[in-house]
Structures are given as C-alpha cells and as structure tokens.
Amino acid sequence: MRIAAALVALTLVAAACGGDDGGTGQGPDSSKKTVKIGFIGDLTGANSALVVPGRNAAQLAFEQANQKGDLKVTIEFVPLDNKEADPSKAPPLAQQLIGDQAVVGVIGPAFSGETSAVQPLFAQAGLTHVTQSATRADLTAGGKFPTFFRSVGGDTDQAEAAARIAVKGAPKCDTVAVIDDKSAYGKGYADIVDAKVKEYGGRVVTRESVAPTTDYTSLVDTLRSSSPKCVVYGGYQPQSSILIKQMRQKNVAAQFISGDGTKSTKYIPEAGASNAEGTLMTCPCLDANVSDEAEAKQFVTDYKAKFNTDPDIYAPEAYDVAQIFIKAIGDCGTDVTRACVLDKITNLKDFKGLTKTFNWTTDKEALHEVTDKGVNIYSVKEGKIVLDGNVNDIVPA
C-alpha cells in the first residue's frame, strides 16, 4: 500500500515537472530567492468547510503573483492542517513555521481558540500573522501582540449590526426577542445584541438560552406569548433552520435575524424556502458570488476555474490577506525579512481589497483591527441568500 502511494506520488511529481518543462515557461523562476507564507487552520476536520475556501483563495493569490513575476522573490505557500482546530495542537505548528527562517508571514489561524494559543509565539518570533476569520472580540485587546492583525470585524461588530438593523432599520422592531444556543459564539453575540437593542431604544421582551435541540416547542410557545416583532438568534445552522421552521409552523411571523453562523448554503433547504424567506443575516464577510464589484467577479471566475467550485465563506477575506502579504513582500524588494514584512504591514494605508479598504487601528484597546469592519447584511429573497450591502450603507450608525 505504502509503495503504491509512493509510486503515485512519484508519478505525480514527474507529471508536474514534465508540465513545467513543456509549459510556457511561466513557472517559478529558479533564479529568484524563495520566501514562504504559512497558513494554519482545520483543513480536514469537522470545521474544514469554513477554512478550506480560504486556503484555496490564498493559494490562488500566490500562484497569480508568482505567475505575474514582478516580485523580486518567489512565494511558496505552506498550509498546515490543525485538524479539528484544536488550540492545544496549534503551537507545534506555529513552532514549525517559526523554525523555518524562509517563512516571513502567516495567514490565520482560522479560528479564535487556536489563534490565541499561538499569538505569544509569533509575537516573540516577530512573525506577522493576519487572520481571515478568527472573530472573537478579545484577540486584539490590550495591544499585547503587535504581530497579530485581523482582517474582519469581530463578533461585537456584527452583533451591533444586528441590533441596529432590528431597531433602526427597516424592520423597525420596538420589541425584540434575543435567543442564543449557549455556545461561546452564540451567547457572546446575543449578549451584545441584547445590550445594543436597549441602547437603541428597543425593548427586549424575551431573552433565552436554549442548547441545540430538535424540539423548540416551548421556546416557540414563549415567543407566541411575548410576541416580539423581531427575533434575533445567536447560533449556528442547522439550529437556526430548525427554529425558524418551527416558529413559522406556529404562525410566529416575527422578523428573523441571525449572524454568520446561520449564513450557510444549507440554511434555506433545511428550513424550507417559504420559512426562510425574509431572514436577515449579519456577517463580517463578503460573499463574492453575489457581489457586483468587477474585482469580486474576476475572483469568482478565477477561483472556479482552478477549484471547480464557488468560493465559499471567508475565501475573499483570505484572498485579501494574501494580497496584503504580496504587497508587503513586493515593497520589501529583494530583502524580504520578517522585520520588513511586519513593518510594511503595520504601516499599510488604504489598501483596496475585494472585501474592504484596509487600515489598521492603532489604539491599545483593540490593536491592529481593520477599521472598516466590513459587516454586511444578507437577506433571503425568493429562496436565495442575497447581499443587501454594508450595514453602514443600509442604516448609518
């Protein structure tokens, strides 16, 4: 078995080399020095659907940059699999990258737990890492890790957006029910929604925490009793699908609002199209597939050509992070060091990406957060998730 695998690998290598030799000569230029960009995330475990699109997008960005050839170095992409996103297994992977002097930057880690586990290591090594999707609010608190950058808004930002849309936006909900799934993410989201709804003058008529279940009978009865105009749910699909279905079945007509945990392609089919219709979702992410921007459309075309599938969640964000590294490496010229990359990224100004224009916060409370949080509002219209736009454009803060 092992021999067979080795043979297959050899054949593949041979085929790849053959392809380069016989190709148009656009392969990596061997006269150039190679620098490496790492990537840490769950590539094969239960959460891989949230991470693989980002890995793919980054790979695409680096291949495009190498092919274009105007960099003074060649970039090698080194994705490492932290299966199941286990925080305790992230530090060895970080050490592996730190130990390789050719590594000048890292994309990720993808999730918050693994990110907080490696922040001190990367800070000590002076190695810049930019996450595309770790959204826990406190990762940037206190300014302890100047090597860490976050390219998306945190959970605080999208929860605030949910409250803003509910109370000040089109639903104009003066009464709101706030529900969470007892998870760290869901409860954090709901707590902020709860506080912000009150701040914006709305009334929270129901505040419930219900662990994932299939039977939401009693919760739906509670909603029938308190009859809120909006129901905000902090939690993940499939629970959101099950909940909205049972709400609609009992004629609870309240506007349903949820976060990025619900923004899954399975949300509508599992809820039933008529039940899901009108749902609003907050997400600090850009769904490139439904964007009208020319660059986003080009990205979708390129991504599909290479990976034969639509770029899913956090792919555009990871693509932007890769572009930020490419720009920094380009600006460093021939002398690409960790210190130079850190310096260039720290001083990044008005960098226009697919998802937003990048500037970093400099205050210690939340160091190196992207200033434009890029929280978008999505809605379910005619059985599809469509992009309504940036929350600031829909309801100014």
Partner: protein, 309 residues
C-alpha cells in the same frame, strides 16, 4: 421571564397543547423502557437507538412514496417500515447485546455497559450511513394550526399524535392483559424461573417484549417526524426524557409510562414559561427527584406488567 402568576394564568392553555403533544411521544417511547424493565429488570439504554431506527424507516419510505407532499395515506403506509425498522433493531439488540449476557448470568452492571456500548455502536452506524445533517420528513399532515381559540393553537398533527398515543396504550394494555403473549409476559415478569418451569419459553417472551417495545418506538418515531427532523443522534434527548417519564410514572408500569410521559411534557413546557427555557430540563429533573423522594417507585408504583391492574 415573568415568573409566577402570569405563566400559569395566561400562558397555561397556550402551552398545554405543545406539552401534551411532546408528552405523548415521551409516553410511547417510555413504554419500551417499561416493558423491558418489567420483564428483565433491565434498563435498555439503547432504546433511543430503536427509536432512531424508526425515524429512518419512516423517512426513507416517505421520501420514496410522498416526495414533496404527501397525505395521511402515505403516513399510514410509512408506519409499517418505521415499526419494522424499530422492532428489528430492538430484536437485534436483544440477540446481540443482552441474550449472550443472560446466558452467562452476567451482573446488572455488565448489561448496563453492554447497553451503552450498543447505543454508541448504533449511533456510529447511523452517522456513517446518513451523515451529520438533519433530514426533514415530507409533510403528510398539515402542521399549521387548525383550531385557534384565543392564543391556543391546535393543529391536525397535535390531534393525531395524541389519539395515536391513546390507541397504542389501550392496544398494549389489551395485549398484555388479554392475549397469550401478554400472559407469557406477565408470567415472566412475576417470576421468570417458575414461568420457565411451567413451560413458558422465556427467550420467546423476551423477544416478543422487545418487538412490542420496538414497535411502539417505531410509531413514536413516525409521529416525531410529523414535527421534527431526524439525524444519527436524534434518539438521545427523547430517549433520556422518555426514560425519565417511565421512572416518574413508575417503571415497569404501562399506565405509569403514559402518565409519566404526559406529566413530563406538560411540566417541561409550562415550566419553561415560568422560569425560562434555559431551565426546562432542570425543572423536569427537579420534579423527578421530588417525586422519587416521596414515592421511590414513581407515581403509580412498579406493578402493572405483573398483572395487578
């Protein structure tokens, strides 16, 4: 979270319907625990997997025959594979996980471990077979409210679930009290050794007990599918709740399972209104502890399968 008066006065009728419907399903599953306990003095912790098998039997059949929209006829047809699937898994459990232990006169602890192992084994099989996603049943009975009196909503599904449960319980009572199989079950429950000496085939009686308990779980599974989706671990929560219901009513006691199921469903749903949904399970188990403190054998005691009712 208006504690006290409001949740009892204005919300009680609103919450009764949901409580009774969910409680009916608990009752049907609880019967399976109770029957097996009555005969073998064994808690069949893998009974939740028997229930899950029924949901898959029903789901696959309904997907085949009903497609996007079905009717009551499809539901009745789907009851057959649901019942067969649950009964088959129940018998397989008895043969694979319990009978070998009985042959060797193993301790109660071994049965418990075997039950948990069998449960995990079945769940893994469901997971590999069906994946992690929830699967929705095609709608066969309209679930939208049929009758609305004030804020009380009653749907066709609520009515069907309740009636089906009553019919099954009455049928089971008849089966146990009036038929040959029932006589065998009661004999083994009372004194297995003596029954065996009198010529009762114990293995046959045990198999029939598992078949009957499984069939009831199959009906519960199909009724479950009228409102909720299924997946590999669907049996866990209703299984635990039904076991609680069986103990609450008096384990080994058929009418106790009915009473326990309905009581638990009601307490949960009404309690969630009074103290908040987060406390739903806490309330249910607090009531269980309180009942057992004063009546250690449950509300109705442990005796009906043995024939005193």
């Amino acid at each position: 979270m208006g504690i006290a008066s409001e949740c009892i006065t204005s919300d009680l009728p609103l919450r009764m319907v949901g409580g009774l419907t969910t409680g009916s399903i608990y009752a049907l599953i609880a019967l399976g625990y109770t029957l097996v306990y009555g005969v073998l003095r064994l808690i069949n912790f893998a009974h939740s997997e028997v229930f899950a098998a029924g949901t898959f039997g029903g789901l696959i059949t309904l997907n085949l025959i009903a497609g996007d929209g079905g009717n009551a006829f499809h539901l009745i047809v789907a009851a057959i594979p649901a019942i067969l699937a649950s009964a088959a898994v129940a018998v397989a459990l008895e043969r694979g996980a319990y009978r070998p232990l009985r042959r060797h006169g193993a301790s109660r602890l071994s049965f418990l471990i075997s039950a948990i192992g069998a449960s995990l084994f079945m769940q893994s099989i469901y997971l590999i077979w069906r994946g992690r996603s929830f699967e929705q049943f095609p709608e066969t009975i309209p679930i939208r409210p049929l009758i609305e009196i004030g804020r009380v909503q009653i749907s066709t599904v609520d009515i069907i679930v309740f009636i089906a449960m009553i019919v099954m319980v009455v049928g089971l009572d008849f089966l146990v009290q009036r038929t040959r199989i029932g006589k065998g079950i009661r004999a083994v429950a009372q004194d297995a050794e003596t029954a065996s000496m009198m010529g009762v085939n114990i293995d046959r009686v045990v198999t029939w007990t598992f078949i009957i308990g499984g069939a009831l779980a199959g009906v519960a599974a199909l009724l479950w599918g009228l409102r909720f989706p299924t997946r590999f671990d669907v049996g866990f929560l209703p299984g635990i709740k039904a076991f609680t219901a069986a103990v609450l009513g008096g384990i080994g006691n058929i009418r106790g399972a009915l009473l326990g199921g309905l009581t638990l469903g009601l307490i949960e749903n009404v309690g969630a209104g009074c103290f908040g949904d987060a406390w739903k399970d806490v309330i249910a188990f607090t009531v269980l502890v309180l009942v057992l403190l004063f009546r250690p054998t449950g509300i109705l005691g442990e005796d009906v399968v043995e024939g005193k009712a």
